[in-house]
């Protein structure tokens, strides 16, 4: 019996090892993005309001020249758990954007300054306009970019991730891309119009290096390095993609605490209820039950 069992496990282990050894070299030399520290990671993670404001500044001054953010409205900047702008600040930000409205009474579309209820206007009116202006490239919308980007974790890491709550592949990847621009290694054939990025799949990225040290001014003394910019804008994009994360983690803790207490109570109730049934069957017990039986409605017949 035991020999059988160990035989099975040996077979399973051998199969697993063989599968690992046979892993094809499909990922090439794709580098895993370095893990960053995020304020919103873990069970009690919350967004860092100041970081979101800095990240928004980078989006507004740099990214928004090419990337849309179409699922976000200016009002979202005032939402709890977000960058925490006041309504007046958000309205002022909105007013700096030109929004297409209409048609008016003459049947014409027209431009007007943005209002707080408007959505972030796209930098290009349509895909073709973007491609025409950017040498055929189409910058992706950034609303859920932090959720839409990831990288292969592989076995066994993906199993540990469920326990360590690693859900920040997206921001890690975005930070890595912004810091991954290097000269191509000798012999690397870079297509025309592309840049080399060591973290981009296939390494030839269409986007030119968007950020360099000191490019965006910070007023709060935070270092103005690409490393810091990358973290700030990635945090902002995570908020853009998961604006309810703060609430989710707070409610989650309450729900799980409640469930643990409830389940504990159910366990002791179960033990008490079953005690009677188990007692009932114990041959060493006296024939007559010494303690009161559960109420009669439990009885079957």
């Amino acid at each position: 019996m035991n020999a059988h069992r160990s035989g099975v496990f040996a077979c399973a282990l051998a199969a697993a090892l063989a599968a690992t050894a046979m892993r094809p070299a499909l990922a090439q030399e794709q580098q895993a993005p370095p893990r960053q520290h995020w304020s919103f990671a873990g069970p009690f993670g919350q967004y860092d309001q100041e970081q979101l404001q800095r990240g928004f500044k980078i989006y507004r001054e740099v990214c928004s020249n090419c990337h849309s953010l179409k699922l976000l409205a200016f009002r979202n900047l005032t939402d709890p758990g977000g960058p925490g702008f006041t309504a007046a600040q958000a309205a002022a930000i909105a007013a700096t954007f030109q929004v297409t409205d209409g048609p008016n009474d003459q049947g014409q579309m027209f431009q007007r300054p943005g209002k707080i209820a408007d959505y972030f206007p796209p930098p290009f009116p349509n895909e073709q306009a973007a491609r025409a202006a950017l040498g055929g490239k189409l910058p992706p919308d950034m609303s859920v970019l932090a959720l839409a980007r990831s990288y292969e974790r592989g076995f066994p890491w993906f199993i540990f991730d469920a326990f360590t709550m690693y859900q920040e592949e997206g921001p890690d990847y975005i930070h890595a891309i912004l810091n991954g621009y290097t000269d191509p290694p000798a012999g690397f054939n870079l297509p025309p119009g592309a840049q080399y990025n060591k973290y981009f799949p296939g390494h030839a990225i269409g986007m030119p290096k968007p950020l360099s040290d000191g490019q965006v001014e910070y007023t709060d003394g935070t270092p103005t390095t690409v490393d810091q910019y990358g973290r700030d804008v990635a945090a902002f994009l995570m908020w853009a993609g998961e604006p309810k994360l703060d609430t989710r983690k707070r409610v989650g803790f309450q729900v799980i605490l409640y469930l643990i207490v409830l389940t504990g109570l159910l366990y002791f109730t179960k033990k008490r209820v079953w005690h009677a049934a188990e007692h009932d069957l114990d041959p060493s017990a006296p024939a007559a039950p010494p303690e009161p039986r559960p109420p009669t409605e439990y009885a079957r017949s």
Binding site: C11, S143, V144, Y267, T269
Partner: protein
């Protein structure tokens, strides 16, 4: 087998109702006094968990449907608007999306339990076949639901899976066009998938009623596989089974909540946060994790038509399990060899799941073919022969004896429980 109804209406209203619609006595005999084997372990709580999950999915799904727009131009944005602008919409969507995964976790445990303890054997064949039908319905419901957010994986999964039908000789192409409602996956496809995704859960609920009805005709199996022989072998459904189910649903919900609140996108694919783009194929199309073993079987076969047949066969073969397994002993606890082959089968399914998530290259293809061969050999060769040659362990005389046996030291003569053989 259902409990003798001893229901006595207490109030004049209930007496009035009982004469017109005896629903109270039906509930009483089916869910209160219904006898359940006293030795059921926690693997038996997954039936209750599945019923609970069906309720969760229907309730969250109906509310999500109030906010969802089934149109190729709006579906993706409407899902995001649920996440942003609907009160607790993020919670509804994450419960529903992870709920699908946990529904499948529970159904796989439920199926594995049935296989381990031989719950499909005479007289439970119809009960088992209804279960296989439920699983098939779940597969279709889960698949149509995954298409609705209209992300890249939604679109390409729909394309790949519907294209499987093109392998059918003669009728392949017309069938695919008919499924799509056009010449490519498009708005008509999304609309019909939405319609089916709303319809099928209620079909599932109907078949669940038949499944429970069949269960109450033949009674539950139990870890010994020995039918209850005396009253001592069973306990009343309420409170014994109800409280045990409630406790384990609580345990299940803690794990479920962990996923919903802390790692809601862990089981999803990041590409599904990119809106569907028919012009751009993802580098690596993978189905949801719960279909991966079947996907691996599909890809293990080099011929498309044979691959599709193997894919369908891998599920349909389950319906024939009661006749493929020739042994008269139900529980794997008394079938040492069967137990080894079965555990190896479970390992093979998990292995196929891993291979299904990887690109079909090199050694992975060979491994997938070996495991696929074992999958079918298990049903078609091992099970029929094993029942003829296997030497099984002696079965306990009754459930009560097996419960007591654990507490009695080896060699000591256990006094037979009085009335156990009556």
């Amino acid at each position: 087998m259902s409990g003798r109804s001893i229901y006595k209406p207490q109030s004049s209203f209930m007496r009035w109702l009982e004469r017109r619609l005896p629903i109270a006595s039906l509930v009483h005999s089916s869910f209160i006094v219904y006898p359940t084997p006293r030795n059921l372990n926690y693997w038996w709580t997954f039936g209750g968990i599945l019923t609970f999950m069906l309720g969760v999915q229907i309730v969250t799904g109906v509310v999500l449907a109030m906010h969802y727009t089934p149109h190729v131009d709006h579906a993706f944005d409407s899902v995001e608007s649920i996440m942003r602008d609907v009160n607790y919409g993020w919670l509804l969507r994450y419960v529903h999306a992870n709920g699908a995964s946990f529904f499948f976790v529970a159904v796989y445990v439920h199926i594995a339990r049935g296989m381990y303890y031989g719950s499909y054997k005479d007289p439970r064949e119809v009960l088992w076949i209804l279960g296989v039908i439920l699983f098939l319905l779940m597969v279709v419901t889960g698949f149509t639901g995954y298409v609705l957010p209209w992300g890249q994986m939604s679109f390409w999964a729909a394309t790949v899976i519907t294209n499987l039908f093109s392998a059918l000789p003669w009728v392949g192409e017309p069938v695919v066009t008919w499924l799509w409602g056009g010449y490519a996956v498009g708005n008509p496809t999304l609309n019909r998938f939405y319609s089916l995704h709303y319809l099928l859960p209620f079909v599932i609920a109907g078949v669940v009623v038949l499944h429970i009805w069949a269960l109450h005709m033949v009674g539950q199996n139990n870890p010994t596989g020995v039918e209850p022989k005396a009253e001592k072998d069973t306990v009343a459904f309420t409170p014994y089974a109800t409280i045990k189910d409630a406790f384990f649903i609580g345990v299940f919900c803690i794990v479920f909540a962990w996923f919903i609140f802390y790692i809601p996108n862990y089981l999803g694919h990041s590409d599904n946060y990119i809106m569907a783009n028919p012009g751009q194929t993802p580098t690596h199309i993978v189905p949801e994790w719960y279909y991966l073993p079947f996907y691996a079987i599909l890809r293990a076969i080099p011929n498309k038509l044979l691959g599709v047949i193997a894919l369908a066969g891998s599920i349909i073969i389950l319906a024939f399990l009661p006749w493929l397994d020739t042994s008269r002993v139900r529980s794997a606890n008394y079938r040492p060899l069967y137990r080894q082959f079965l555990l190896l089968f479970f390992a093979a399914v998990i292995g196929l799941g891993y291979l299904g998530s990887q690109l079909p290259e090199g050694g992975y293809v060979i491994a997938a073919r070996l495991l696929t061969a074992y999958y079918f050999a298990y049903f078609l060769i091992i099970l029929p022969l094993l029942g003829l040659f296997e030497r099984t362990k002696p079965l306990p005389n009754s459930i009560s004896e097996s419960v007591l046996g654990a507490g009695v030291p080896a060699g000591a003569s256990a006094p037979p429980p009085s009335g156990a053989k009556a």
